[in-house]
């Protein structure tokens, strides 16, 4: 019995591949929303208030 996928374009093959779809469906939000978000709060925006107060000479120290 011949493979019904003969002559089917690459685009159709990609969109028929449920594991490819699963991979992009997890990777895109995983990277752009989740990983980037955690980097934002734990790495990029991690300055301490105590440092800021000392730096600007306000209510400095503990």
């Amino acid at each position: 019995m011949s493979d019904s996928n003969d002559g089917v374009s690459l685009g159709q093959k990609m969109m028929d591949n449920i594991f490819f779809l699963l991979a992009i469906g997890i990777a895109f939000p995983g990277i752009f929303y989740f990983a980037w978000g955690l980097l934002e709060i734990f790495l990029f925006n991690n300055k301490q208030l105590s440092d800021y107060l000392i730096q600007t000479g306000q209510f400095g120290g503990k």
């Binding site: 779809l21 469906g25 989740f34 934002e40 709060i41």
Partner: protein
């Protein structure tokens, strides 16, 4: 084990010709019935809290108000919708493909996890041990069993999603189905993939929070499981990766159901399969990024991160929705015109089967979700506009259009088909079903309008008393705010009427409707290697 062992387990649907795997049908039954049970609980909560927001009535006391808002949100957003979606996944894989559903015992186990979790969460909420809202933001802390219940429910649903993927693999491998998935199943596949992302994100949010909620008598200091603090912004990011993405599951499932209902009621066929499928794939790429709109006015995030993600990946996902906005009416119009309804520009629409609950439910849901709900959602997702809407009543105004007027109404319309075609019972009260969709749609639109305008005037959400009669100061809101809040109450009475009519029809039909005799026929995989 050869696939022919299952050949005795099928019946042939007399209306559609689909081959229905009967053990799968029983799984669909239990998940659909469970869904309606939680819809009922959520619905009772809805009318009680709406009559409290209506300041003139102010029905509930403070503690019950907050408790029932939590119970309403959790039962509706999580349990009603997800149980129904699990039934949908089983239907979209096994029944649509004419395949066996692999792992029936596993399917019952997953349902068991879900029902255990749902009951646990409800017991915790109603005994006052989880007055934390559906969002449960730390440092607000609920009883550990609340979190554990959510985790159990989520694990059961996640396993169902993997089982759905496995069913698609088996259908192909064993030769039950050949070639591309039908569009309806493809839409559900998108929903299932979004669901897997949703539930993984939820696990990352809730597992540490569950451990944090456990007392030191169970997890002492020094243990590696001892979590003394859950970073509040970490939770918000992880939670909304679960909470909003769950709504995107609903969107993909609702769109798939629209295609199905449009077909069942008017014979509509998708005009261009590639276009519709690309639209679903755009959802996969971009839609879950949009969860950041919950964090638009949070500390600790850069503008680039916010803008990139709330744009849904350069509006890719919005373009997906706009494709469906074209494709569905195009399909209906083409089908209607081919029946000879070609007079003037709109005869195809005016002569559409509006008195058929499947069509009216689809059409109303399409307008309310697509134009009202989707548009207000994209508006609220813009940084500057979010500053004037975050946590106001405008936000529930938006999501009652999408989740209730959109998804729930579409699910209700589908149920009128599921009951006779899948659960094999004749409908009791079928004539009322026609009116039910309209009553529900009108009611929920009024509720949403009231909430939206009250929110624009600054009314906070999840707030017992905007008149702040017990506070040291009172803010004088615009006078028009009280009529807007009374619209919430009035609309809720109308919507609840529609809701209880639906539940009445559904419950009576499923348990007392005239049984439709199944046509049991052997069914072997038509495309198995070596088949005739």
């Amino acid at each position: 084990m050869s696939a022919t062992d299952f050949s005795d387990q099928f019946r042939t649907c007399q209306t559609t010709g689909l081959k229905v795997h009967r053990p799968a049908q029983r799984l669909i039954w239990i998940n659909a019935v469970s869904a309606v049970v939680f819809l009922l609980i959520g619905g009772v909560m809805a009318i009680l809290i709406a009559l409290t927001k209506w300041q003139a009535i102010h029905l509930l006391e403070q503690d019950l108000f907050y408790r029932f808002v939590t119970a309403h949100g959790t039962n509706m957003l999580v349990f009603w919708i997800v149980f129904f979606e699990m039934a949908g996944l089983i239907f979209g894989s096994a029944v649509v493909l004419g395949s066996r559903f692999p792992g029936i015992a596993f399917g019952w186990f997953n349902w068991g996890l879900m029902i255990t979790g749902a009951v646990m969460v409800n017991v915790m909420m109603f005994t006052g041990k989880a007055d934390v809202m559906f969002t449960a933001y730390p440092p607000l802390k609920a009883h550990p069993l609340f979190y554990l219940g959510i985790i159990l429910f989520a694990v059961g649903a996640l396993l169902y999603c993997f089982q759905f993927l496995y069913a698609l693999v088996i259908a192909k491998k064993e030769g039950w189905h050949k070639g591309s998935l039908p569009l309806f199943t493809f839409g559900l596949l998108t929903a299932a993939i979004i669901a897997i992302w949703t539930l993984l994100s939820g696990a990352i949010a809730f597992v540490p929070t569950f451990l944090w909620s456990l007392p030191k008598t169970i997890i002492p200091d020094g243990s590696f499981l001892r979590i003394n603090q859950v970073d509040p912004e970490f939770f918000r990011i992880a939670f909304w990766g679960f909470g909003h993405s769950a709504q995107q599951i609903n969107l993909a499932a609702t769109v798939a159901i629209w295609y199905l209902l449009a077909h069942l009621t008017t014979g509509a066929k998708p005009v261009n399969q590639k276009m519709c499928r690309i639209a679903f794939v755009l959802y996969l790429l971009g839609i879950n990024l949009g969860s950041v709109h919950h964090n638009l006015v949070d500390p600790g995030l850069s503008a680039t991160y916010r803008i990139f993600n709330t744009s849904y990946l350069f509006y890719a996902a919005v373009i997906g929705s706009l494709i469906h906005a074209f494709s569905l009416p195009a399909a209906v119009e083409t089908a209607q015109r081919s029946k000879g309804l070609t007079r003037g520009l709109f005869e195809w629409l005016t002569k559409a089967p509006w008195s058929h609950p499947g069509f009216s439910g689809f059409a109303l849901s399409f307008v309310i979700f697509g134009f009202l709900g989707g548009v207000t959602g994209v508006i609220l997702s813009v940084e500057q506009l979010n500053m004037v809407s975050h946590n106001t009543l405008r936000v529930p105004g938006h999501f009652h259009m999408t989740v209730v007027g959109g998804t729930t109404l579409a699910f209700m319309a589908l149920t009128y088909y599921v009951i006779p075609l899948v659960l094999q019972r004749k409908l009791i009260g079928e004539k009322l079903a026609v009116y039910q969709t309209y009553i529900f749609a009108v009611g929920i639109t009024i509720v949403s309008a009231g909430m939206t305008f009250a929110g624009i005037m600054g009314a906070p959400r999840r707030h017992y008393d905007i008149e702040m009669s017990n506070a040291v100061f009172q803010f004088p809101y615009a006078t028009a705010i009280k009529p807007m809040l009374s619209l919430v109450g009035i609309g809720a009475i109308i919507a609840a009427t529609g809701l209880f009519i639906f539940i009445g029809i559904a419950v009576l039909s499923v348990f007392f409707g005239e049984k439709i005799e199944p046509k049991v026929e052997k069914h072997v995989p038509p495309h198995a290697a070596g088949a005739a």
